[in-house]
């Protein structure tokens, strides 16, 4: 598994180094404490200990400070990386063309960018310092113990390497279990969202009880899966704890027997004194501490690497919308026509191009219907005219200006798009018509509402609050709201509509058609449709089946 953020992680080392340093301060602290006890054993009283105690305290403050500063530095760097990764992904989502087949659906993109990306923070801020600590602290402690007693060092050394082996074995199984858990979780969420959307229907059918029971069963399944993952994770840390506890206990027992004189070997021919024995004992838990930390952040790592991968996929370069983030220049002038010359376009990875050497001329103010079977490229052509993807070769000119990366934003300012399924933002009807465009005032919005005959739906002052994704509106109302949104565009010259009456019943389709014609009066209109009524209302029908190349 590759993740492109890996090289940047190296820069976290300042914080990591501080945290490793903090862990190492325990070495002199333990030595001072051991010496204090030795002093007491030697008959020294309060006076013999007070200076040592002062040093222990001073080192303790230093250690706490280094630890906090290290954690802080690691966090700051990690948060910066997270912000950059999010910014890049957002930028790519904003500028990626809707014609790009690899484009992520909104729900997935949002969950990667919001919740999943959050797991980068613990990964980057905790895992890296721990990794450095594991590399640095146990060897140094081992060296300190070794300098006192090679037997104690050998005991620690024997216990330590088993830990990574067990963890790897366990982690291997944990991955499979964890994937199963994610599937179960996704399943429960999808089930819940689906049922919540139709809660009124479920209640109307008296099926609340049955649904609650299915939810309970689904939640139970999720718990069992989660526990399966946790059992493995906990087992791995239990193994670790067992080895570390046994390691400490063995060191304690060895040192005890050694001090009694029953195990005289191991201290380089001499005999450990009390201070040395205590020192070795107090270092033993610290030897295992970084390894225990590592097992605690192991899960952070798995989640963080997965999130880095997902974010990198969001930010992968693809087909771009020309001039997506440019500010539009002043837009006015006569109603534009559209000239297409020698257009060439093919979808990435597709065997056959959609257009080869395609030309078309639409006069200013003309109303044109593009017809062809599904998949013939109607929507693609509309998207290209609206500047939603770069043309491969050839030229599209709108009102005599060629559509390029530099001119796209200004040209788009005079174009409105009415799709099959317009998107609605949480908020009022007014907000959904104005879309935050500062030049559109309340009167413009009310005019647009009147044109789309939405007065009954919009509420006084167009202030009706729409639910999630326009949930409170019928299909016809949603399209008329999209027409109102287009109508509010100042200096609108070209209206593009992609199968506006598909999926509508006849009466609603007639309303939408009327609204569309009112909007397009005195403007250029290009639409893709199968609807004979709508085709009949246009000036010209262009069948793309034969005209593509």
């Amino acid at each position: 598994m590759t993740h492109p953020r890996a090289p940047k992680i190296g820069r976290l080392s300042a914080g990591s180094l501080l945290s490793a340093l903090a862990a190492l301060i325990w070495l002199p602290q333990a030595a001072l404490l051991a010496l204090s006890v030795q002093a007491l054993a030697d008959g020294g009283g309060f006076g013999a200990v007070v200076v040592l105690a002062g040093f222990v305290l001073g080192l303790g403050v230093l250690r706490a400070g280094a630890e906090a500063a290290g954690a802080r530095l690691s966090y700051l760097r990690a948060r910066q990386l997270l912000g950059e990764a999010r910014g890049e992904a957002l930028h790519c989502l904003a500028t990626g063309s809707p014609l790009d087949p690899r484009r992520h659906p909104a729900g997935l993109a949002a969950s990667v960018l919001a919740e999943q990306a959050e797991t980068l923070l613990p990964y980057l801020s905790r895992f890296e310092p721990v990794r450095l600590r594991v590399a640095l602290v146990p060897p140094l402690i081992l060296a300190a113990v070794f300098s006192q007693s090679w037997v104690a060092a050998l005991i620690l050394l024997a216990a330590a390497p088993l830990i990574p082996v067990f963890m790897a074995l366990v982690g291997w199984r944990a991955k499979a279990a964890s994937e199963a858990q994610m599937v179960e979780m996704g399943g429960m969420n999808a089930f819940l969202l689906d049922r919540l959307r139709g809660l009124a229907t479920i209640r109307g059918l008296g099926a609340i009880e049955a649904t609650a029971e299915r939810l309970a069963a689904s939640a139970r399944g999720l718990r069992q899966r989660t526990m399966a993952v946790l059992r493995i994770a906990f087992l791995s840390s239990a193994v670790l704890e067992l080895f570390s506890a046994l390691g400490v206990a063995m060191v304690a027992v060895y040192v005890g027997f050694h001090l009694l004189g029953q195990l005289g070997f191991g201290a380089w021919g001499g005999r450990l004194d009390l201070a040395q024995g205590l020192f070795v004992l107090m270092l033993a838990p610290a030897f295992f501490e970084p390894l225990r930390d590592l097992s605690a952040v192991w899960h952070d790592r798995a989640a963080g690497v997965a999130a880095a991968d997902s974010l990198a996929r969001l930010a992968a370069p693809g087909l771009e919308v020309p001039g997506a983030l440019d500010r539009a220049g002043a837009a006015s002038g006569p109603v534009p026509g559209v000239e297409i010359e020698h257009l060439h376009f093919s979808h990435e990875g597709a065997a056959k191009p959609v257009f080869t050497d395609f030309s078309l001329n639409i006069r200013p103010g003309e109303h044109v219907a593009l017809t062809a079977p599904s998949g013939a490229g109607k929507s693609t052509l509309l998207s290209l005219i609206a500047g939603l993807a770069p043309v491969g070769a050839g030229c599209i000119a709108i009102g005599g200006t060629a559509l390029t990366g530099a001119s796209a934003a200004s040209l788009r300012a005079r174009i409105a798009w009415i799709g099959q399924r317009p998107h609605f933002f949480a908020g009022t009807v007014r907000g959904n018509i104005a879309l935050g465009r500062p030049e559109i005032g309340l009167m413009d919005v009310l005019d647009a509402v009147a044109l789309a005959r939405l007065q009954g739906v919009a509420g006084p002052g167009a202030a009706r609050d729409l639910g999630e994704g326009g949930g409170g509106l019928s299909g016809g109302e949603q399209l008329r709201l999209a027409i109102a949104r287009a109508a509010a565009t100042p200096d609108l010259g070209l209206v593009i509509a992609d199968e506006p009456t598909a999926h509508l019943d006849r009466a609603t389709a007639a309303e939408v058609t009327a609204g569309l014609l009112a909007l397009a009066e005195g403007r250029t209109l290009i639409l893709a449709t199968h609807d004979p009524v709508l085709i009949a209302a246009m000036d010209r029908q262009i069948d793309l089946t034969g005209a593509r190349s």
């Binding site: 204090s36 009283g45 309060f46 105690a53 222990v56 303790g60 403050v61 250690r63 706490a64 954690a71 802080r72 700051l76 999010r86 989502l93 904003a94 809707p98 909104a106 949002a110 960018l113 919001a114 969420n189 999808a190 819940l192 969202l193 919540l196 229907t201 059918l205 008296g206 609650a212 939810l215 309970a216 939640a219 718990r223 989660t226 946790l230 704890e241 067992l242 506890a245 046994l246 400490v248 206990a249 304690a252 040192v255 005890g256 009694l260 004189g261 009390l274 024995g277 004992l281 107090m282 997506a324 939603l388 788009r412 798009w417 879309l435 935050g436 009954g456 019928s474 019943d505 006849r506």
Partner: protein
């Protein structure tokens, strides 16, 4: 502050039914911590005692090494086992608790009239049911269990030290508890608002990303993409500011706990030095005390994270408590007193949540058994509200509503991610396959479903994806047919259908309804024509009504939209 006031009630709810498991988890956590402390303390004593004994060969021979050495190994094993058990039990108990709460919250949301504001926002409702419920876990897993374990350990350590010297124990135990609980409490106070903001910022980032992706074309053509991108990045900056504050609180708490631990250690060391000087204790006991003090502060560090994130959990309490704490009493619509009636409404006044004016005012309506009635009127006249009142969805603030058991066919065919059979069995859980086929045939969908390779077992996508509009409506109709109730409420049953399909569906409804009572809310002539009586709804009441065969009936019918 309301979250803090509601907290005890929520905690009681959390514990309900799982007390044994939850208590066992906390007990095991305390055992783990105690075993750890005892392990280190005993080892210190053992080494010091052996060192002193080893100095004198005579005592070295009689020193009982085996009991303490065995105890040390035993403690090591106990500690590991207790830790493993603790983690399994606490996590299992937490998951069980959340599972119960989730189902309870779903039931509460499903009550008529509940969560009306959320019904239009199922995505937000899902968040309440998932991440808000999950946020409640920290009260037990990250605060309750570590606090119990740490305080228990501090008290035991204090008690052990008080055997050595009364004042030492009396000083050390309370010091640990005050510092160990005080610092996390401080962190909680500092981080509380930031944790709340963090949750809100994350939700804003999520919503703005969805808008950016789904609304891309509209935003690009309106020239608003830079603004939307800026808004999404601002949400992350807001999130970063909250994260930063939380991190400062967490690091600060870590620093203070580190210093407190060191102070405790040095305090015990100096006190022991005094006691040794006075001859009150020996060196081994001093070593025991020292290592005990060393280990006793550590459990409090586990509280830090939970404390910093408490704002998030309190936000969840704020959001969930009103729904979770309200009694789960389904409203039962009484049966009409008059045996001849299917619907009996007297002086009913109803209002929607938060609306200033009632939507129905002192309305009277009687519908006889077997009668077919159409409610007509323009959008917003109150047709749907009256339907909801009849269905028991909209509680009345005054008056009386009584109906026979009813089934409501909502405006949109709401089908679910499930098999065809699963969708049908929502209406009648025990229906046999033969009954399902009969219903499908009656709705005119039997042939279509038989033509599918998996038949009844065909899985539908979200919202019934995979069926055409007409097929979806027919499936909803088949589902209605399976519902064994005497009163059908149909809200614009053929609104989105083409003329021919609509006519067929309506004819099938009329045939299948047989002697059932039918109430149809509509603004289409083709639907209203099914009725024996037309009722024009408007201005919060009934404006006009006419029976079939009277001139008024034809007038009213002619006023409706053709189709």
């Amino acid at each position: 502050m309301s979250a803090l006031r509601l907290l005890p009630a929520i905690l009681r709810l959390l514990a309900e039914g799982h007390r044994g498991r939850l208590a066992l988890g906390a007990l095991l956590a305390a055992a783990t911590v105690l075993a750890g402390i005892a392990l280190l303390g005993l080892s210190g004593w053992f080494i010091t005692a052996t060192a002193l004994a080893g100095l004198v060969p005579a005592t070295a021979l009689v020193f009982d090494v085996f009991a303490p050495a065995a105890a040390i190994r035993l403690l090591a094993l106990v500690r590991t086992a207790a830790r493993y058990g603790e983690r399994l039990v606490t996590h299992d108990a937490t998951l069980r608790t959340l599972e119960t709460l989730r189902v309870r919250l779903f039931r509460a949301y499903a009550l008529p009239g509940a969560a009306r504001g959320l019904l239009a926002r199922p995505g937000r409702m899902l968040f309440r049911l998932t991440s808000d419920i999950d946020a409640l876990e920290s009260f037990y897993l990250r605060l309750g269990v570590p606090a119990i374990a740490a305080v228990g350990a501090a008290l035991v350590a204090g008690a052990a030290l008080s055997f050595i010297d009364g004042w030492l124990g009396l000083g050390f135990g309370p010091f640990l508890v005050f510092a160990g609980l005080g610092v996390p409490l401080l962190a909680a106070l500092v981080g509380r608002r930031a944790a709340r903001r963090r949750a809100l910022g994350l939700e804003a980032l999520r919503v703005r990303t969805i808008d950016l992706v789904d609304g891309q074309t509209d935003l690009l053509l309106a020239g608003r993409m830079p603004a939307q991108l800026g808004a999404a990045k601002r949400a992350d900056a807001y999130l970063a500011a909250a994260d930063d504050r939380l991190n400062r609180a967490e690091c600060g708490a870590g620093f203070l706990l580190g210093i407190a631990g060191c102070l405790g250690l040095v305090g015990v060391l100096l006190a022991c030095a005094l006691l040794v000087e006075q001859g009150a204790i020996g060196t081994p006991v001093a070593a025991f005390a020292l290592l005990l003090a060393l280990a006793a502060m550590e459990p409090f560090a586990a509280l830090r994270r939970g404390a910093v994130e408490i704002g998030r959990s309190l936000l969840a309490v704020d959001r969930l408590a009103p729904t979770l704490l309200s009694p789960l009493v389904p409203s039962v619509v009484p049966l009409p007193l008059d045996q001849r009636l299917a619907v009996e409404i007297r002086g009913a006044t109803c209002r929607h949540d938060g609306a200033a004016a009632p939507v129905l005012t002192a309305l009277d309506l009687a519908i006889a058994k077997g009668e077919r009635v159409a409610l007509i009127g323009p959008s917003g006249a109150g047709k749907s509200s009256l339907m909801q009142a009849i269905a028991g969805e909209l509680p009345q603030s005054a008056g009386h509503v009584a109906t026979l058991p009813s089934a409501l066919l909502t405006q949109r065919s709401e089908l679910f991610r499930d098999t065809v059979a699963g969708n049908l069995r929502l209406a009648h859980a025990g229906a046999s396959e033969a009954e399902l086929w009969a219903a499908l045939d009656a709705a005119g969908l039997g042939a279509d479903i038989r033509a599918l390779p998996h038949g009844l077992a065909t899985r539908l996508g979200d919202g019934g994806l995979g069926l055409s509009g007409g097929q979806g409506r027919r499936l909803a109709l088949a589902r209605l047919l399976l519902r064994p109730v005497p009163l059908w409420l149909l809200d614009e049953p053929t609104e989105a259908l083409d003329g021919a399909v609509a006519a067929d569906v309506l004819a099938r409804v009329a045939a299948a309804a047989s002697d059932r009572t039918l109430v149809i809310a509509t603004h289409l002539r083709r639907e209203a024509a099914l009725a024996d009586r037309l009722i024009a709804v408007g201005g919060g009441g009934i404006q006009r009504e006419a029976r079939k065969g009277t001139p008024g009936y034809d007038d009213m019918l002619a006023g409706l939209r053709a189709g």
